[in-house]
Structures are given as C-alpha cells and as structure tokens.
C-alpha cells in the first residue's frame, strides 16, 4: 500500500501528540474547553467532508448532529443501554438519517440543495419539539446517573471526570482524523474533489457522480452524528437546541475559518471561533459584532480560511 501525503500524516500525528500533551499544561478550564473543541471539531470535520472536499454546501447538518445525539441519548435514557452501545446506536442512527436524506436531497443542486437540506433540518428540529413527551423538547432530557459511567476492559470510565472526558474526546477525534485521512488522501477522496472541481468531466470519465456524492453525504452525516452522540453522552444532556439552524451555521463557520478542504482546518476553525466567543463574551456585550467583523475580514482576505490560504500559498500538501 502506498502512503500518500506523508507530510500531512506526520502533521496529524504531531497534532494529536500536542493535543494529548496540552492537558498537562493547560489550566483546568481550558482543558474543559479543549474537550468541547475536540467534539465540535469532529462535527466540523464531518461537515468539511461534504462542503470542503465535495463542494456541496449544506445548511442542515445540525440534523445529523441531532440524529446521533438523540439516538444515543434516548436509547440510554429509555432503555438503559450502556454508553458504548448507546454511542454505536448514535452512529448507526446518524448513518441511517444521512443515507435517507442524502438519497432525496442529492436530487437537487446548488441553491436548491442548500434549501432542501435546510428544510429537512427544520423539519427535524420541529419534530424534536412536536414529540416533546419523548424528546423533552427544548427543555431536553438529563441523562440518569447510571448513564454517567461505563465499564471497559475491567476499568470504570467516569464521564463526570474531566480527565476521562478529555482523553475519550481525543481518542474519538484521533480515530475520526485517521479515517478521514485515509478517505481524503486516497482514491475516494480524489473522486470527491473531482466532483467538486468539475462534475460533468467526472461523469464523462465514467464515474457515477450521484453515488460519489451520496457516499460523501453519508460519511459526512455519520461523522457529524458521531460528534452529536459523543456530545450528548459526555455532557449528559440532550435538547432540541442542538437540532436548530444555529448549530448548522456554526459547523459552516468553523469550516470556513479553518479552511474548507483541509483535513486539520476544522480543528483550527473550531478552536479559534470557540475561544474567541468564550473570551470576548466576558469582555464585551458586543462580542457577536466582533465575531461578525472577523468573519467578514476572513472572507475578504482569506476566502479559503486559515489553512486553505497557507496551502494555496506555501504548503500544497496541506489538504
């Protein structure tokens, strides 16, 4: 097997090692914040798969995040399944939802695709409110105490422990990063990029672009749902606000800031956005204006995001 893009692989490995080491030097709150950044960057990495690599701009990814969140959370809340099983159910739930929605939404293109994904996501959001007696609606559900720990290979993993949560989030992040590295730097990833760059030409070369897009859509939705399942189980709360439009936009912004079509861009974008909101909201009530100005600046001068700009100008392998 040929290893493509060894430099990027090395950077990914270094990134994971640095992230692991950060828990020993960062103050407790920043470790907690980094835990959240890792989970949300998994969400953004899923989004990036579709938007960055395949060129399909979805406005409804909160639906997949919520599919994972609810499939995992409700199964442990009502059936009392263990956390690892609930996590797998969350992934399966997100896979099923993304496959079905993908089959329908991919019949549209460009602006219509954005609107259709947005409409599906709104329908999903309203369903979480409609079935409040099951989902808890906007007030949500707090997972029971039994669902705050689980046994694994003879060890008890306590989800209320900050260390356990950080390392678990890092583990899932690393696995997702490895899977996405394999996909994006291999033949499948080239097909995704081919669709993004020139879909008619890809068709002319004999590829079934609908199948390629459906694969990208399903992978993207499943990864987003993985983040949702992890978030719900880790923080012990599920609620309809995670299915809302704002959550979809956040994934888009994380990706845009970090660099669409770069493997590590979503991590950087999520970290920058999360920490800016966190820090600025403690300093000024006008923090959303500052964030807005930043987004305008990035779009004007760095339309390809931070890592996208670096890739285009200096490091071509950073993709």
């Amino acid at each position: 097997m040929t290893l493509h893009n060894g430099k990027l692989l090395a950077l990914c490995v270094v990134t994971v090692i640095v992230l692991f080491g950060l828990q020993f030097v960062l103050p407790p709150y920043l470790t907690l914040a980094l835990t959240r950044i890792l989970i949300l960057s998994v969400f953004a990495m899923g989004y990036n798969m579709l938007m960055g690599y395949t060129g399909l701009l979805s406005l409804g990814h909160a639906m997949f995040f919520a599919a994972g969140l609810y499939a995992a959370g409700l199964s442990t809340y009502y059936w009392g399944v263990t956390l690892p099983v609930a996590f797998v159910l969350g992934i399966v739930g997100a896979f099923a939802v993304s496959l079905v929605i993908g089959l329908l939404a991919l019949r549209t293109q460009a602006v219509s695709f954005m609107i259709v994904t947005l409409m599906f996501a709104q329908a999903g959001y309203l369903m979480t409110l409609q079935f409040t007696n099951i989902t808890g609606g906007d007030q949500g559900l707090t997972l029971p105490t039994d669902a705050r720990s689980f046994g694994l290979f003879g060890m008890v993993v306590d989800m209320t422990s900050d260390t356990a949560r950080f390392n678990l989030a890092l583990l899932i992040f690393t696995v997702v990063l490895a899977v996405l590295f394999a996909i994006t730097q291999g033949p499948l990833g080239r097909l995704f990029v081919a669709v993004r760059e020139n879909e008619p030409r890809t068709q002319m070369l004999g590829f079934d672009t609908y199948a390629i897009k459906l694969t990208a859509f399903t992978v993207s939705g499943t990864i987003s749902g993985t983040a949702g399942a992890l978030y719900g189980l880790m923080f012990g709360y599920i609620g309809s606000s995670f299915a809302g439009f704002q959550n979809s936009i956040e994934a888009l912004l994380y990706t845009l800031i970090g660099g669409p079509g770069t493997l590590l861009g979503p991590l950087l974008g999520t970290a920058v956005m999360t920490m800016l909101i966190d820090r600025l909201s403690g300093i000024t009530t006008a923090y959303l204006i500052v964030i807005g100005v930043l987004l305008i600046v990035v779009n004007l001068w760095f339309p390809k995001g931070i890592l996208g700009t670096i890739r285009d100008r200096w490091l071509g392998w950073l993709k």
Partner: protein, 427 residues
C-alpha cells in the same frame, strides 16, 4: 500560472496569524481566577444578555448590581466583599453549560445564580451537580421541585409555575369563567402552563376548550386566532420573546370589542409599556404578576426601598427613561436570591468553598423569609426538601392603563404536595 507578491502576502498572512495568536494568548484574554479564595465572595452570573431572554437579562443584571451595592455597603457577607462576574449565556442551553464550567474551573466562584429561561436551566443544572457548584435559579420551571435536578440547585425566591397556576385557577374560575382557551409558547415553559392549568381548572369544575401552542420562532399570529372557539369564556395567554407585542396587538385586532375575558401572564408584556394606544383593548383584563409593576395604594416600605435602589419609578419604568419598562414581575427574584444566599452563608459562617456543604445545608434548614427590604415581594415559605420557595401571587386588573392588584393569594393557596426530597441525596 498565478503571479503574486509572495513577500507581501506572506507578511499579511503572518501578520493575521500573529494577530490571532496574540489575541488568543494575551494575559487579559486567557483569564485566570483573579484572586485568592478567602478574600471575597465571588458569584457567577450567567445572564441572558442576548437571545430570546435579553429583555429580562438586562434588568436581572441591573437588579443584581443594585442588590450587591446594598450588600457590600452593609459589610458584605461574613466581612468579605461580594463580587459578581457576569457572562452572557445567549439564552442558549449549550452556552449555559459552558459557562457553569467556566465559572467553576476558571473564575472559581463560590456559587452561580441568575438563570431564568427553563431550557437553559435544565441543561445547566446537571452539570452544576457534577461540578458540585451551588446553583441558584431565578426561573419558574417546576423541574426543580419535581425532583429533576440535584442537591446543589435551589430556587429560594420566585414560585414555580405549578404553584402560580394552581393558586390562581380558583379565582379565575369563580370570577372570569370556566371555559378556558390556552395560548402558550410551544416549548417546555408553555407546557408547564398547559399541564398545570388544565389540571387546576378541571379541579374547579371547568374545562379547557382549546389549547393553542405557538412556536417560539413565530413572528405573526393571525393564523392562530381563528382557533379560539366561540364558546370561550376566558382566554389565558402566556407568551414570551421579542414578538409578544405583535401577539398581543393581533389578539386585540382579532377579538374586537366583543371579546371574552382575558387572563394573561405578565410575561406576555414584561418590558412592554401597556399604556400605548394599541393595547387600549386590554383595559379591564387581568394579569398574573409575581411582583406588582405599578406602585400600589398600599405599597410597602420594602417595595419603595427596592424600587429606589434598582432605579425603577412608580410605573415600573427606569427612573432614567420612562419608556424603558422593567421586567418588574420577575426581577425581584434576583434581588431576593442574593439575600437568601447571604442569609445561608452567614448561618454557615461561610468563608470559602471548604464550607460549601455547610452553606447548602444551612440553605436547606431555612424555613422561610419575612417581608423586608431584603424580600420586598413579601414573605415566603421555603421548602428545604424540594429547594423551592412559595410566595403570595398577585392578580392585577388593567384599570386606566395601569395594573391594579385585585387579589393577592395566600401562601397556603400556592402549596402542593412534595414531589421530591433532595436532602436524601448525597452531596
């Protein structure tokens, strides 16, 4: 091939990255707990500065600042000054959870208080329990008293929705009518009203003839109005958010002069001037008020003191701007919660987090509060098992464009059977 000025671009990219890095890493940005434990009492205040609860958040913050001025002028708590660290939760549950972590791990506060909207409180409360952070709600959700939270959560001032609704249903059914149409926001706060009002009115021999749930994102309401049945005797409405004014106006336009009785929760008109021409049709209708917005003929000295300190005039508006109407019916809960925390901390001789358990046990041991400058809304019973307060509720009638209290419930009318006992839960 694209030609570009590499030096200039590299410089601009590096400058941008350096700027971002500098911003992220500067000491003022990367915050730390600013002082050592024992020199002050630090309280975290996650207010709804933005989002759907922004009108409340602004007044909650103003009320909290006024209360802290009074507390600090009186020597603070146990000889220590009280500091408040305010953060904006955006009325967002996700941000609510992040902030409780930030208050705990970074600001290292002694307690957190001030959440109003029930979905934010519902998401935050479990994490407060995990972090062992005393968490004082200024909400009205019944979840706390129903046993949905944990031993670290308290609501020592404002009564919950179940208490409010069940205490007023007998008066509504005796004085206004027995066939009720409910109009409420389509989320948990609205469901609390729907469920409790339906049960309470049924117990009075009445019935709910229609219940109309309106999504919180709605901006126009005319399509919901035809769903009000003709045999409705009383319209019961409780709406919140930026579109409440539109809702109330459109309700008036739909009903015209031949309207049924109207009973609303003042939530529908908090921070809104009811004296404007579009709301003239509200004359003669009734509202629930936790604390009477307009100074009443029998105004207490305590209410006078509280208004003066917060800067609210006799019409419930800011003394600086008569058009800036406060959220008077709710914001007393912030003031009173701070004084309840002070009382419990003094009972426990609280000096810092080492005495956290003693502080919480002292809170549980409190049986009530007397009407005073500290508790201007009135006396209260505090249930140490359910961590919930029970207080008088006001029913006010719009008379000459002002709200006049026509009935004040007894505290006994607001009580119901205990649904949980947090004292059985370990810390």
């Amino acid at each position: 091939m694209r030609v570009m000025n590499k030096g200039q671009n590299r410089r601009s990219v590096l400058a941008g990255l350096a700027g971002t890095g500098l911003l992220m890493a500067s000491p003022g940005i990367i915050g730390r707990a600013r002082a050592q434990s024992g020199d002050a009492i630090r309280l975290g205040a996650p207010f709804h500065r933005t989002g759907i609860g922004a009108s409340y958040g602004r007044w909650y913050e103003r009320t909290a600042n006024a209360a802290l001025e009074v507390i600090n002028a009186g020597g603070g708590i146990n000889g220590m000054p009280v500091e408040m660290i305010v953060e904006d939760d955006g009325t967002d549950p996700k941000r609510g959870v992040e902030l409780i972590e930030k208050f705990s791990a970074e600001h290292k506060v002694d307690a957190v208080f001030g959440h109003l909207f029930s979905h934010v409180a519902a998401a935050t409360a479990p994490r407060a329990g995990e972090l062992k952070m005393p968490y004082f709600l200024c909400s009205e959700a019944h979840t706390l008293a129903a046993g949905g939270f944990n031993r670290y959560c308290f609501q020592p001032s404002i009564s919950d929705v179940k208490s409010q609704v069940s205490s007023m249903a007998p008066w509504i059914s005796e004085n206004l009518g027995k066939k009720i149409t409910l109009i409420y926001p389509d989320y948990a706060f609205g469901y609390d009203h729907r469920d409790n009002m339906t049960a309470a009115i049924k117990a009075q021999g009445g019935e709910v003839v229609a219940d109309i749930a309106i999504p919180p994102t709605e901006t126009t309401f005319t399509r919901y109005m035809p769903r009000i049945p003709f045999n409705t005797e009383v319209i019961y409405h409780v709406m919140v958010g930026p579109a409440v004014m539109t809702f109330v106006k459109e309700l008036g336009e739909h009903l015209g002069s031949n309207r049924p009785e109207i009973f609303g929760f003042i939530d529908s008109l908090e921070a809104v001037d009811i004296g404007i021409p579009q709301l003239e049709y509200l004359e003669g209708t009734h509202f629930w008020e936790g604390h009477a917005r307009y100074a009443q003929a029998d105004q207490t000295e305590f209410d006078k003191f509280y208004r003066e300190k917060v800067g609210v005039d006799e019409n419930g508006a800011s003394v600086d701007d008569a058009r800036d109407i406060s959220t008077y019916a709710h914001m007393f809960s912030v003031w009173e919660t701070l004084f309840a925390m002070k009382q419990a901390m003094e009972m426990a001789d609280y000096k810092g987090p080492d005495q956290k358990v003693a502080f919480l046990e002292a809170m549980e041991a409190i049986e009530g509060f007397e009407a005073s400058n500290e508790f201007p809304q009135g006396e209260k019973l505090f249930n140490g098992k359910t961590h919930q307060s029970f207080a008088h509720q006001n029913i006010s009638k719009v008379t000459d464009g002002k709200l006049e209290v026509v009935y004040r419930t007894s505290i006994e009318e607001t009580l119901y059977e205990d649904e949980t006992d947090y004292t059985q839960m370990s810390f």
